[in-house]
Each structure stands twice: as structure tokens, then as C-alpha cells.
Amino acid sequence: MATELQLTKRYGLKDSHTLKVFLETGGYASLPKLFAMTPVQVAEEVKASGLKGRGGAGFPAGMKWSFVPRNSGKPVYLVVNADESEPGTFTDRFLLLNDPHLLIEGIICASYSIECHTCYIYCRGEFKQQFDRLNAAIDEAKKAGYLGKNIQGSGFDLEVYVHRGAGAYICGEETGLLESLEGKKGQPRMKPPFPAVQGLFACPTIINNVKTIASAPWIISNGAKSYAALGTPESQGTHIFGLSGHVNQTGYWELPFGMPMMDFINNYGKGVKGNLKAVIPGGSSCPVLTAKECEDLTLSYESMKAHGTMFGTGCAIIMNDTVDMAVVLKNLTHFYADESCGQCTPCREGTAWEDRLMKKILAGEATAKELDLMLEVADNMEGKTICVFSSALAMPVRSFIKKFRADFEKHLIKNMVSVPETVA
């Protein structure tokens, strides 16, 4: 039996983004049950469901919500991270477009649980259409009494605002996002203090990804047990999985966790175009996997971890054997060098250095020494900065070179003493 769709059931319906269609298809149905619960009970329910953060880090959502200090005397904020910009990732874009009210319903659930009365949705700048849709949905919801004062007679008040980003990958990092929301450069903050204690405007703040929040209404309506019964014991529920690159059918599908990667590629992606060489399983920051490693890989947090990579965003990039992994890594070093916020030296210098080294390798001007230098630079980038951006390049550098060294070696000058790389 096919699993009931939770996040994508309205996709494809005409005017799926409108309140009318949303209400006709069971929208806002979780609210009576929600308001009959206490805020703590809601957090406990979500904790029991096993729902993990879908933005990449996979932190248990209910546990995060329970970190908010109650009665701190300060306002509490909910911030929805809709700054989807991890290379290879493209599913929030359609959730925002097709079903903005589902996100609003989830926002009501989360806000009620953490006793917050103001929520900001941080929407990626490029998503102008989504920004307009969200604003229209908020207006509709407010007019119909689903937002604003005394929502559906519950006594609970909530305002939701959309804040538009302006083209900076780092604002997907939660504290960079908070800085950006405060009208500053999106440079991540030192932790602690963690945002749950001191976040937006120095107040307790919970930041969750779009799909995490959008999963909450189904959990409230159907109960934590039903949610936890889906997927695997450690990866509960459903997720919108994506495929891009060399498959016959690229796209996204909502599925319970746990499907073997190769079944996903073959049954949903209609097979690899050519012969499979490599998979980046969940966005460009995840260590790359070889075709062999994918044989017993499943779409779950635990299987990705067991294979030395990360679940990330659940959107996989598939590469066939025509791909030169050195060219792909150059693409990534360029991305990270371009998007580094420049705050920490190991990252600002390291990402640019890696990019220069890749340029030199592809130009046929490097020796094995430069290749080893890339690994050394990667070691000096990881775990030495305020946020994980620097590690997000160090991990691909290491995994690409380790697993596909031959692709790099064929660009090298053999038996030549290298000219030391200087910091330009």
C-alpha cells in the first residue's frame, strides 16, 4: 500500500496554493486538536514522532522546541528557514509554491508549542514567486481567522511575516540567517549562546526548515505513533527526495525513509544514463559516494552515516562515468570560495586556496604535491571556524580526492618539482 502523502498531496491540484483548495482538502484540520493540547504536550508529541530537522543537520525537531526557556520574560520567535540554496537541492521551492498554507498550518503548530506570537519566514531572494505566494497566503489566512488575534477562537495570537533574502548561501546557516534578519551581513554567530536561548533580537528563537515545519500538522492530526511507524526506526516519517544529474528522469518524490538508493534511482529516476560513477547523496556539502558504496545504501539518516556521508537535504546528484570528478570538484571549490562570508580566516583563505589549486590542477600545471596540499588545506579548514561552511568544502575535497584520485592524477605533471603555491 502506498504511504499517504503528507507534504505533497496537493501538488498538481488546480489552485493548490489557495485557501479554498487547502480547506477543501483537509487543510487546517489539525488546529482543533492542537489547541486542545498544551504547548508542552505538542513538543512531546513531535519529539515522540522522531521528526528530524530536514534542513541538513537532522536535529530532532521536538527536542529543539523543548529547549526554549518558558517564562523568560522575553518574546519567543519562530524563524522558518526557506533559504534553500544547497547545490543539488530543490524541493522547498515547490512546497512554498504549491502549498504555502501547509507551511502556515505547521507554523501555527510550532508557534503554539514554543509559545511564540511572531514568526518570520526567511525566503530565498531568488524565490520571488514564492515570496509573493507566501504573502498572499498569509493575507488569506489572516482574513479567515487562521492568523492574527485569537486564532479560531483559541485565544492564541500569531503574526507571520516573510523576510526576503538577497542572494547569500551563508544565510541558510541559522545564525547567519538571524544576522540577515536583523539587517546585517549574514555572518554566522559564535555558539553558545544557542539561538533557542538567545537568537533573534537576543530573544529565544527556534529556526526550522520548511519541510520540518510542514510535517508538524500531520503529526498532530494523526499522532506521533503513526508518524514514527513510517520509515525506519531511526529515520521516521516521509521526506521529499530529489534526483538530479545523470538519471533518465530527474525530479522529486515524497516517500517514507528507508528505500534503497539504487531502487530509488532505478524505479523513480528510471535508471542511470550510462554507467553510475558517483553520487552526492544530499547536497554538495555531503561526502561523495562511489557506485559500489551505493549498492547497500538506503535513504535514511543512519545508512548515510554508516557510509561515511550525511543525509543532508535528501536530494541526490547522480554522476555517470563520463564525468571527470576533478572538473566537478573545481565547480564546488568555486562555489564555496564565492560564497564564503569571509569572517573566519581558515574558511576565507582556505576555500579560495582550494579553488586556486583546482584551477592549477585542471590547467595541467600541478604535481602530486599540490594534490596533497589540497588535503592538507582541507585539514586546516575543518572544525576551526565559527560555522560549518568551511567543513562543507573540506569534506567534498577529501572524499573526491580519496575516492577518485585517478581523475585528479591524470591532470598532473609527472615527475616534476612543483612551484610552491603562494597566497595571492
Partner: protein, 159 residues
């Protein structure tokens, strides 16, 4: 040339600023308004935004420069933003870049002499399953081929 916001834009801004407990938080929205009203973020526009938000022009400048979508030079009427990141690369974005560069005779960062087209390379647009992709102003154009790119440019010329 000094630029100023129309009274109705100032009013619109005040509505937005009221959403935040701290006025400075409305700096990004103010820059968006400035870009909508003036077409791009000139230094004069930064001064204007600074006055509106109540921060220093330097604070506006450092924020405007941090975010790539605020145009610090005047873009063309049609601003072509071609994605160059991994999934588009695998799907043939190099050919799309070459097509744009050949048809418009522009390099990344340039604007055509008639002001009709500007061209920029951008990072992942979250269109990986419909790659290669480009954004023209606010609109996405996906599953591009060299032929469809040429047609797109021809259609834009007529607008």
C-alpha cells in the same frame, strides 16, 4: 544625482518596519524597495536608504555589498542570471553560457551598449532537476538547450 523615495514608498516602508521590534531589521526590505524604485543600488540610493532606516550610509553599503542580488551597477532591462553550479554543469550549462556570450556578445558582468541585456553567472538556483537553468529578472527558465536559449533571447528582444 540625488534620489528620493516617493511618499507612498516611505509609507510602504513604514508598514514593513513595523513588523520588526528593531528598525534596522528592515534594512534588507528597504534595499529591495530601493532596487524596485530606482532600478539598482547606487551610492545615492544607499544614502537614501540610510536616511529612511536610520543607519549610517556605511552600514547600508556593507550590507548592500554582501548580498549578490542587490545590483551595484545598473543592470540591463533583461538581467540574465545563468546558473553555473554542479547540477547545471552536469546538464550542460557550459553550452548555455557559450550561447548567451555568442548571441549577446557579452562576458559575465557586462551590460549591452543599448541597455537591453546584462549577463551574470550565479550559483545554484534550486532548479537542479530542470537543469540547466537561468533566471531572467525574477522569472525562471528551465531545461534550457542552446536552441531554446537563443529563442528566449530573441523573445526578450521583442519585449
Amino acid at each position: 544625482m540625488a534620489v528620493t523615495f516617493k511618499p507612498e514608498v516611505v509609507q510602504e516602508f513604514e508598514g514593513i518596519a513595523a513588523r520588526y521590534p528593531v528598525r534596522r531589521a528592515a534594512l534588507l526590505p528597504a534595499l529591495w524597495l530601493a532596487q524596485r524604485e530606482f532600478g539598482w543600488i547606487s551610492e545615492e540610493a544607499m544614502v537614501c536608504v540610510a536616511k529612511l532606516v536610520g543607519v549610517s550610509p556605511m552600514q547600508v553599503m556593507e550590507v548592500a555589498n554582501f548580498y549578490s542580488m542587490y545590483q551595484k551597477t545598473k543592470p540591463g532591462k533583461h538581467h540574465l542570471q545563468v546558473c553555473q553550479t554542479i547540477a547545471c554543469l552536469l546538464a550542460g550549462s557550459e553550452e548555455i553560457k557559450k550561447t548567451v556570450e555568442r548571441v549577446l556578445n557579452l562576458k559575465p558582468g557586462e551590460t549591452s551598449a543599448d541597455g537591453q541585456f546584462s549577463y551574470q553567472l550565479v550559483e545554484c538556483l534550486a532548479s537542479c532537476h530542470t537543469a540547466p537553468c537561468m533566471q531572467v529578472n525574477d522569472d525562471y527558465h528551465e531545461n534550457l538547450t542552446p536552441e531554446s536559449t537563443e529563442k528566449l533571447i530573441a523573445d526578450l528582444r521583442k519585449k
